[in-house]
């Protein structure tokens, strides 16, 4: 039997190698004594383990590298798409703004020549009505009628395009005050038609007072207009649905065929001949724009002959309601 080498220094070397390995040195190896005893076996085992660890570590690092590259590529694609999307949105906003600017300038600049046509037609009428023949009077009246319609169109178009141009911050607004103002603005028509306007409990909302007034005025005005057979009855109300209020304007007029319920909110869409019901076809488009600028939705529920209920949503203001 050859003498057994001193066990302790070899065990120390093993312990040392383990420490090196665990602290990240994957090259740590041991040299067995070639006696082939148990300690040598442990050393061989250690070397084998260290080798295996190094291989796996390399494979893992390779994998991480690949995955990172893949991720970076994917991220780049997403960023690229996002940039393109942002560009598209900006482009859309720009072209929308340009369109609104165009509508504004067009309607504003059209006022000037219209004022001339209107003024001189009125002057003709003032000076010569009844002094020429009956046909001349009729011609002048047709011209005046055209001027008045064009004036209404230009005014509505200006209102519509202004809505896009002047983005006003939303403020704490009493819906009831806006309704009261709208009803006051319509007082003449309400008295003429013998209409009954009733108003339920209305909330305080986040909104723009003048825009909301315009909104109620257009909806109540429609209720008065599209009600030839009977005495107009219009009811304005509100109900709470989760984080928002749904306000409603209900009338007892001629109603709307459901197939037109989306078309009516588009600009210049009219469902009636001019001699039946007057109008520019801009009123409900203005309503939709106001509601959309308030972050809400507007729709109509109606059947022909059974009146119409226009509903729109506005953001509720919880915090302030609780404080009140």
């Amino acid at each position: 039997m050859s003498p057994v080498p001193d066990q302790n220094p070899r065990i120390d070397r093993i312990a040392d190698a383990i420490i090196q390995l665990t602290s990240g040195n994957l090259d740590a190896r041991l040299e067995p004594s070639e006696t082939g005893d148990e300690v040598d076996a442990i050393m061989v085992g250690f070397n084998w383990l260290a080798e295996e660890l190094a291989i796996r570590e390399n494979a893992l690092q390779q994998l991480v590298k690949e995955r990172t590259a893949d991720l970076e590529k994917a991220l780049e694609t997403v960023e690229h798409q996002e940039a393109r999307l942002r560009l598209t949105v900006a482009e859309l906003a720009r072209s929308n703004g340009e369109l609104e600017q165009f509508a504004y300038v067009a309607s504003h600049d059209l006022q000037e020549p219209l004022r001339m046509v209107g003024s001189y037609t009125s002057l003709l009428k003032r000076r010569y009505q009844g002094k020429l023949d009956a046909e001349a009077d009729e011609f002048i009246d047709f011209a005046m009628d055209g001027v008045n319609r064009m004036r209404a169109l230009i005014n509505d178009l200006l209102t519509y395009s202004r809505l896009g141009r002047e983005e006003r911050p939303l403020e704490v607004t009493d819906a009831r005050a806006a309704v009261d103002r709208a009803v006051a603005n319509l007082q003449t028509a309400i008295v003429e038609r013998g209409a009954v306007v009733t108003i339920g409990q209305l909330p305080t909302v986040m909104g723009n007072f003048s825009q909301l007034t315009q909104l109620f005025q257009n909806l109540v005005g429609n209720g008065l207009k599209f009600c030839k057979q009977n005495q107009p009855e219009i009811h304005i109300d509100a109900e709470r649905n989760g984080p928002e209020w749904t306000l409603s304007v209900r009338d007892n007029g001629i109603g709307i065929d459901p197939q037109y319920r989306d078309r009516i909110f588009l600009i210049f869409q009219r469902l009636h001949k001019r001699d039946e019901y007057e109008g520019t076809g801009i009123g409900l488009a203005i309503c939709r724009k106001v509601v959309e600028q308030h972050g809400g939705r507007i729709w109509v529920e109606s059947e022909p002959g059974k009146g119409a209920t226009f509903r729109f949503t506005l953001r509720a203001m919880d915090r302030l309601e609780r404080a009140a």
Partner: protein, 146 residues
């Protein structure tokens, strides 16, 4: 009454012949005898007031009706020049324009316009406005001597 029997001279600075004629028509219905002098841009307006060139024999107007949007020299510049001139600044200047823009109104008063009127779209209202200008600036207001 300021002008019993006397002719009132009014300078109208307006580039739109249609508006000039309308103002003339309205002035025809005026109670006071008036002479409407018309120039169609800002350069001519200043030449008229300073009696320069072809306007050497121009009268000094009692009142100026000034449009804001004018060719060559616009109404704001004309207004500024008039109100910086120690002699001309005493002539009341009525801004008569189509603009209802707040920025135009503020600017005009900042430049010491005597009043600002947006031309009404309706002819009856336009006639009323011109009549009111006449009533107020010619029969009610005490003006400085020429």
């Amino acid at each position: 009454m300021n002008f019993s029997g006397e002719v009132v001279d009014i300078l109208l600075v307006e580039d739109n012949p249609g508006d000039v004629r309308l103002t003339r028509e309205a002035m025809k219905e005026a109670k006071v005898r008036n002479q409407l002098h018309v120039v169609s841009d800002g350069v001519e307006a200043i030449a008229f007031l300073r009696r320069q060139g072809t306007y050497a024999n121009a009268v000094r107007p009692h009142l100026i009706l000034l449009d804001l949007n004018l060719p060559r020299k616009d109404g704001r510049e004309v207004l500024a020049e008039i109100k910086q001139d120690t002699d001309l600044r005493r002539i009341p200047v009525v801004i008569l324009t189509t603009s209802e823009a707040e920025v135009d109104i503020l600017k005009a008063y900042d430049l010491h316009a005597n009043c600002y009127i947006a031309k009404p779209v309706d002819i009856e209202q336009f006639l009323t406005v011109v009549k009111s200008i006449e009533d107020f600036w010619i029969t009610i207001v005490k003006l400085p001597p020429r």
